[in-house]
C-alpha cells in the first residue's frame, strides 16, 4: 500500500503559514465567549446552530483563519458537533483553514472580470508581491508570501462586474484596476505594514 496522508487526520491539521505572525493565535477569552453568546442570542431559541457562520466570521476576523481548536469551540458553543462545523468550514470558499497574509488579496477571475483583464491582473499582482501563481491550486486556493505580509487568492465573482477588473484587499474593494493602480495599491499597503 502506498503511503498517503490520512484524509481524516488532515481535517485537524493546519498548514503552517508565514502570515501567522500578523494574527493572534486562537484563544478562548471571556470577551470572545461574550460576543459569541450575543450572536447566538440573535437566533430563535433552540437554533444555536444558526450561529455557526457568525461565529466563524468572529474567529476568522480576529485570528485570520479557522483552526481545529476553534472548530471544537464553535461546535461546543453552537451545540453542534466538530464534524458538522468542519462540514461548513470546508464548504465555503470564504472560510480559510490556514492563515492568510496580513493583507489578503482576492482577485476576481470570473467571466466579466476576465473580459476586462482579470487573469492578467492576477498574474501581475502575484509578480508584485512575489508569489508564484502556481502555488494557488484547486486544493489550496490561497498562496501566502514568504514574509507573511501578503496572501493572494483567485476568487469567483465579487459582484462588481461592470467595473472590472476587481480585487479586494481584506475588506476593501478596488475596481477598474490596472497595473499602475496595482503599483500604487501595493505601495500604499506596504507602508501600512
Amino acid at each position: 500500500m502506498t503511503e498517503q496522508p490520512d484524509a481524516i487526520a488532515a481535517l485537524a491539521e493546519t498548514k503552517p503559514s508565514p502570515g501567522e505572525k500578523y494574527y493572534p493565535p486562537f484563544k478562548v477569552t471571556p470577551e470572545l465567549t461574550k460576543k459569541a453568546k450575543a450572536y447566538i442570542a440573535m437566533y430563535p431559541k433552540g437554533r444555536e446552530q444558526s450561529a455557526v457562520l457568525p461565529l466563524i466570521h468572529l474567529v476568522q476576523e480576529k485570528h485570520g483563519y479557522i483552526c481545529p481548536q476553534s472548530v471544537l469551540w464553535i461546535a461546543e458553543m453552537c451545540q453542534s458537533t466538530p464534524i458538522h462545523v468542519q462540514g461548513i468550514v470546508s464548504f465555503y470558499p470564504g472560510i480559510r483553514t490556514s492563515c492568510p497574509g496580513k493583507w489578503h488579496i482576492r482577485v476576481c477571475h470570473t467571466i466579466a472580470c476576465a473580459l476586462s483583464g482579470g487573469e492578467e491582473l492576477l498574474s501581475y499582482v502575484c509578480e508584485k508581491i512575489g508569489i508564484d501563481p502556481k502555488a494557488m491550486t484547486e486544493e489550496e486556493p490561497m498562496a501566502v508570501s514568504a514574509d507573511g505580509l501578503w496572501s493572494i487568492e483567485a476568487v469567483e465573482c465579487l459582484a462588481a462586474c461592470g467595473f472590472g477588473p476587481n480585487l479586494m484587499v481584506n475588506d476593501a474593494l478596488y475596481s477598474q484596476m490596472d497595473q499602475a493602480k496595482v503599483d500604487d495599491l501595493i505601495e500604499e499597503y506596504s507602508k501600512k505594514a
Binding site: 465555503y92 470564504g94 472560510i95 482576492r106 467571466i111 466579466a112 469567483e156 459582484a159 467595473f163
Partner: protein
C-alpha cells in the same frame, strides 16, 4: 428632482429612469438615516403601516411586480403561498447573496442606500406578518455588512424597527446574517439551510416554495434586495400606477448591469421594455470598443444562454406577420428574450466582441460552475468537473472533434435532473456555446486517436498496454 446631481461619470443617460438607483452615486448622499429621511424616506412605511397587511399584498399583486433575483416570479403571488390558517411564525429573508456573474445591482443599494432596502423590507414583513427577518449578506460585502448593521440600529432608534413600530402595535426584528462566499446560497432553500447552520445544500422539491416549509420548518418568504426596494416603489406609487409603467407582463424599472466589451460598462436603470438590447449596447453603453464589433451577448447573468449577435431571430410584427430580427431588436423586459431561448434573469448583460475566443469564455464559465457546485446531487457534482476538464482540454488543443459533442452531451445529461436550478444554470451556457459557436470549438480540436492517452494516469497505464517496437 432636477436638483439631483450625480458624481461625474455616473450621470444617468437620457433614456434611463432612476428610481431604485435614484441616490446611487449621488453627490452629497450618504447611507445615514438622516439623509434618507431628508429625501422623503420612511414616508411610504408610515403610509403602509396604517394599511391592512392583506391590502398591501393586494397592492403588490396588482402592481404585477416580479422578483428581481432572476426567476421573475410574481412577488405578490409568492407572498400568498403562506398556508392559510398558519399558526407558526412567518419569516422573511432578504436575499442579498448577489453572486450571479454579471449582476452587480444589489451591491450599490446596500452600500449606498441601505435604508431604501430596510423600508421596503419592513413593509414586506408587515404585509406577510413576519416578526423576525434576516438579511442574508454575501461574504464579499464586508463593508456593506457594517453599513447595514448601522442602518438597522438607526432604524430601530427611530422606531421603524423593533417593538410597536410607529405606534402600530407591530413588532419586527431584523438581523444580518453573513454568508461565506458560496454561489449556491443564492438559491433560496440553500440560503435557508445556510441560515440554519447546516451545509447550504438546496432542499429537494416539493415543497416548491419555502413559503410553505422554509426556515426552521416555518413559512418563509425569500425576496431579492431589488425586489424589496421595488415593493417600496409599489406602495409609493400605488399598484395600478406601478403596473402602468413599462412592459405589461413585467412592469416597473429594471436595473441592468453591463459588463464586458462595451465603451461604457456599468449600471443602467430603465423602464422595463422601454429600450432594446441594441439601444442599450449602442446608445447607453456607447457601442463596441474602437475597431471592434459585437460578437456575443449573455443577456441575463452567467447562466443565461449566450446569444450570437448575428443570430437571425424570428420576431412578430403587430399584425402577426413574421419579421427577421437580431438580439439588438429584442426589447429589454423580462420575457422577450425568453422567446428566443435565453433569459433576462437578474439583468446582468455580459458582452463579448470579436476579439474573444468563445471556448475560452466557456471554460471560464465552466470553472465558475465547477467551483460553485455544492456537490449534493450526482449530475451536477460529477458533471461540472467533467465539463471543465473537457473545455480545458479543448482550449489546450488536446481534444478531438468528438469531445465537443461529448461536452454538449454531458450538459444535456445534467439539465433537468438535479435538485435545484443550478443544473440548468451550468448546462445552459455549455449547450448554447457549443451549439452556437460550434465552429470555434471544432477549430481548436484535431482528430485524435482515441487510444492516445491525454491524462497522466492513462499515459502511465499505456506503458503496460503497448509494446515498444
Amino acid at each position: 428632482m432636477s436638483e439631483i446631481t450625480y458624481k461625474p461619470g455616473h450621470e444617468p443617460h437620457l433614456r434611463e429612469t432612476r428610481r431604485i438607483f435614484r441616490n446611487i452615486d449621488r453627490v452629497g448622499y450618504d447611507p445615514s438615516i438622516a439623509c434618507f429621511i431628508k429625501d422623503g424616506g420612511y414616508e411610504t412605511l408610515k403610509k403602509a403601516i396604517k394599511m391592512e397587511p392583506a391590502a398591501i399584498i393586494d397592492e403588490v399583486k396588482k402592481s404585477g411586480l416580479r422578483g428581481r433575483g432572476g426567476a421573475g416570479f410574481p412577488t405578490g403571488v409568492k407572498w400568498t403561498f403562506i398556508p392559510k390558517g398558519n399558526t407558526k411564525p412567518v419569516y422573511l429573508v432578504c436575499n442579498c447573496d448577489e453572486s450571479e456573474p454579471g449582476t452587480f445591482k444589489d451591491r450599490f443599494i446596500v452600500h449606498q442606500d441601505p435604508h431604501q432596502l430596510l423600508e421596503g423590507m419592513i413593509i414586506a414583513c408587515y404585509a406577510v406578518q413576519a416578526h423576525y427577518a434576516i438579511i442574508y449578506m454575501r461574504e464579499e460585502f464586508p463593508e456593506a455588512a457594517k453599513i447595514v448593521q448601522r442602518a438597522l440600529a438607526e432604524a430601530e432608534k427611530n422606531n421603524f424597527l423593533g417593538k410597536n413600530i410607529l405606534g402600530s402595535g407591530y413588532d419586527l426584528n431584523i438581523i444580518l446574517h453573513r454568508g461565506a462566499g458560496a454561489y449556491i446560497c443564492g438559491e433560496e432553500t440553500g440560503l435557508i439551510n445556510s441560515i440554519e447552520g447546516v451545509r447550504p445544500y438546496p432542499r429537494i422539491k416539493p415543497p416548491f416554495f419555502p413559503a410553505a416549509i422554509g426556515l426552521y420548518g416555518c413559512p418563509t418568504i425569500v425576496n431579492n434586495v431589488e425586489s424589496l426596494c421595488q415593493v417600496r416603489q409599489v406602495l409609493m406609487r400605488g399598484g395600478e400606477a406601478y403596473a402602468a409603467d413599462g412592459a405589461t407582463r413585467s412592469p416597473g424599472t429594471r436595473i441592468i448591469g453591463v459588463s464586458g466589451d462595451v465603451q461604457r460598462p456599468g449600471y443602467y436603470e430603465i423602464i422595463s421594455g422601454s429600450i432594446t438590447y441594441g439601444d442599450l449596447l449602442y446608445e447607453l453603453c456607447g457601442g463596441p470598443k474602437p475597431g471592434r464589433s459585437f460578437k456575443a451577448i449573455i443577456p441575463g447573468g452567467a447562466s443565461a444562454k449566450v446569444m450570437r449577435c448575428d443570430e437571425v431571430l424570428k420576431g412578430r410584427n403587430p399584425d402577426g406577420s413574421v419579421r427577421k430580427m437580431t438580439i439588438f431588436d429584442v426589447p429589454m423586459d423580462l420575457d422577450s428574450i425568453a422567446q428566443h431561448g435565453s433569459m433576462s434573469g437578474s439583468g446582468g448583460v455580459i458582452v463579448m466582441d470579436d476579439s474573444r475566443s468563445m471556448p475560452e469564455m466557456l471554460r471560464n464559465l465552466n470553472r465558475f460552475f465547477a467551483w460553485e457546485s455544492c456537490g449534493q446531487c450526482t449530475p451536477c457534482r460529477e458533471g461540472n468537473p467533467w465539463m471543465l476538464k473537457l473545455s480545458t482540454r479543448i482550449c489546450q488543443g488536446k481534444a478531438s472533434p468528438e469531445d465537443v459533442d461529448l461536452l454538449k452531451s454531458v450538459a444535456d445529461n445534467i439539465c433537468g435532473r438535479t435538485v435545484c436550478a443550478f443544473g440548468e444554470a451550468c448546462a445552459w451556457p455549455v449547450q448554447a456555446f457549443t451549439t452556437k459557436f460550434r465552429e470555434e470549438f471544432l477549430a481548436l480540436t484535431r482528430p485524435i486517436n482515441a487510444f492516445k492517452p491525454h491524462n497522466p494516469e492513462a499515459a502511465e497505464a499505456r506503458k503496460y498496454l503497448t509494446r515498444e517496437d
